[in-house]
Subunit: 440 residues, 2 copies
């Protein structure tokens, strides 16, 4: 018989059990923090009608869409796979508007799909972990101070080393370009300035001059502005009263409120900074913007980004739905964690105890297993008939911390022998004692 070679497509992450256990722990940390702030869970289909999914897309994104060819049931509609979780959220809020409670706080941790060319650190199937707060007509800017606090708690708990949540407000730079009379080039300037971290200041200056004909004087003003330094309070003090353009003033006021609330929410000064050069490429954002960097892996780029937008679902409804959100690209982050060994996989087993029968009599083993599981202890019974050594090897390979040995002596004497796999120490316990010990 000829075999088909088993393979997994490149750009699709597939983990070994130990890695998957670690991945799930991280995912669970993210989820439990989202829930601690009262975000509601949401799942949406992977496949949507192309018309709905591509209402807004275009350019690069549209090129990367995976389209789906129906099976048996040929639907008239064209079908596509979601490429982010924001468009499905917009559809969802527009569709169920009457049934939702606003402000609508939801989290969504699911996979999305982009058929791009596979390259280092890029995935074609990847997890996004999104939180968004959607208002009905209005949404207080105070929420812009809460969203990064959720992410702060997550990155603190994940313990990946120092990180910095970079924050800015697009209205400030937009107001500035109005004040400088180069308002018509705002989009180009924002997009160019956003690249400072990637291509450097000089290259940005060159593009502004050559491609967009910004005067030397204005480039200097822009660059001076972006390089304002100091603590967050000092930066805000410097920004205040610099220009009296309305949009500019509004942006600075919002930034000040957000920063104040980030502090009140417990974010330490060391873990965030005002960075006027970040603007997020997307036109979508209209106020606060965030990017998050791991200080020891700055070149990796942002691990958690987002911002404020005026109108979530403008393609689907006339309801005005402002919102603010952030997203963790979990698959990409996990890839970094694995490759750079950012987390010690302290414990990588699911099972806490393996019960090893030494005779054909299973009653005592199965009864103990039931009692342990009732006490929420993950328990396996080794049921295959093989040498004792092989059974211990199984426990070792899976990093199971304890083995319970049940032989004839144990059955006759009504006790269990517990072996600590790390110390090799063996202790005898009766049933009650062993359950107490293992369910600690």
């Amino acid at each position: 018989m000829s075999y088909i070679q088993p393979k997994t497509l490149s750009g699709f992450m597939e983990l070994l059990p130990k890695e998957q256990i670690l991945f799930n722990k991280i995912k669970n940390t993210i989820k439990s923090n989202f829930e601690k702030f009262g975000f509601l869970p949401l799942e949406t289909p992977v496949i949507e009608s192309s018309e709905v999914l591509l209402a807004k897309a275009g350019g690069e994104t549209e090129k990367q869409i995976y389209n789906v060819v129906n099976g048996e049931f040929k639907e008239e509609k064209k079908l596509s796979m979601r490429y982010d979780l924001t468009v499905p959220l917009a559809k969802y809020v527009a569709l169920y508007y009457d049934k939702l409670t606003f402000p609508f706080k939801r989290y969504q941790i699911e996979k999305v799909y982009r058929g791009e060319r596979p390259q280092k650190g890029r995935f074609r199937e990847f997890y996004q972990c999104d939180i968004d707060i959607i208002g009905n007509e209005n949404l207080s800017v105070l929420f812009d101070g809460e969203i990064p606090c959720v992410m702060y708690n997550i990155f603190k708990e994940l313990n990946l080393g120092d990180f910095s949540i970079n924050i800015s407000n697009r209205k400030i730079l937009k107001g500035l370009t109005q004040a400088l009379g180069i308002e018509d080039k705002t989009a180009e300037i924002l997009r160019t300035v956003d690249k400072i971290d990637k291509i450097g200041i000089e290259k940005v200056e060159e593009i502004l001059k050559d491609d967009f004909s910004i005067s030397a004087e204005n480039i200097e003003k822009l660059m001076n502005f972006i390089s304002i330094s100091g603590s967050s309070d000092e930066k805000i003090a410097k920004l205040e009263n610099l220009y009296d353009n309305e949009l500019y003033v509004q942006g600075v006021t919002e930034l000040k409120t957000v920063v104040e609330n980030m502090k009140k929410n417990g974010i330490d000064e060391n873990s965030f900074e005002i960075n006027l050069s970040i603007t997020r490429g997307l036109d979508y954002y209209t106020g606060t913007v965030y990017e998050t960097f791991l200080k020891n892996n700055k070149n990796f780029g942002s691990v958690c980004s987002g911002g404020r937008y005026d109108n979530l679902a403008e393609y689907y409804t006339n309801k005005k739905l402002p919102g603010v959100g952030m997203s963790i690209g979990l698959t990409r982050l996990f890839d970094l964690i694995l490759k750079n060994n950012l987390l010690q996989t302290q414990t990588n087993s699911i099972t806490k105890v393996l019960i090893v029968p030494m005779t054909q009599k299973l009653d005592e083993c199965l009864a103990l297993a039931r009692a342990l599981r009732k006490n929420n202890v993950s328990t396996e019974v080794y049921l295959d008939d093989t040498k004792f050594k092989n059974k211990l090897t199984y426990a070792n390979k899976l990093a199971i911390p304890y083995v319970v040995i049940v032989g004839e002596d144990e059955i006759a004497g009504k006790y269990y022998t517990l072996k600590d796999m790390q110390t090799s120490l063996q202790t005898q316990y009766n049933e009650k004692e062993i359950i107490n010990f293992l369910s600690k």
Copy 2:
């Protein structure tokens, strides 16, 4: 501006937040029981190379496959979406064979895709919750008694009413047809007999006679055999010594062992039964087979099925990998739960307490929120500036059980007013007391 109508495709389940909370609880019950038995988590890509995915498929299944048209990156391979979790498991075990520890116990709770015609109770995207134990060359039949025990614990905990795990062994009916000299029609007989629950005994007898030319005498023997009655012990006693065909005897012996171990594993007699008419349509199964019925919804069909197979990955490798597994079709089951109101949604909120600021001063509110979240209490602060009544409405709509009111009096007196939303009772607490109360 013209709007695109927001829509979700039929056959794709999309839930409101309250429903999603319930769904997640059920999913979590399933997951935590899987882990309590030491099953390792696994996730595989939704998209696989068609060649790999369709190695085994054919007939109806192949017609229902969703194919994927690449995005920007035109891969030479054809791509398809997985239609179950068994084929990806087979690929996975063949691919990572050297890195896995056997017996390999894994669970996988993920969505699969079938592009079939939408109809009542059928989904085109649905969750499967699979457990399998894969042996290397050999796998003790004792595991066949463990797998239904995992499912038993889940259905007990889900509390959906009485259920029955039906169990049989395909070798028995196969051995019987050998003994009757109608061995060449075994597949047809098994498939027909499997339909008894759906089409009734008379119709089955008719098909056996008309379509497969089974003699009246043999049909009677088959039917007598299938309708053997009594407790599981009585059934086994009746089966033993009825025929001396080798395969038959082996099947009865296995069934006896499995039933004994199901009992030792704590499955009560009321929750399982030997049912010789179930054979699982698929040729795939070679020994023990299971189907599970909710006693109050028998017409709904099996909610959890599976069985023993000789060779998991025969299309990918020459390694012999026998296994046993069961699967819950969660999306379909959840649909039944919702439509028949099988579960009271006792609590359908994520948030335990909503903190309501009555002044512009947020410090006390945010500090309390931080302290509560540190104690794992899901906490929201109402940040939008609106009437008190609206804030309480928000809590009511989301079924948040407690509201903390923080007004000028509270700030001055350093206390908090806690309102129980169910009784409307208000109590004053200091910070320590309120944290103690809410983190109980």
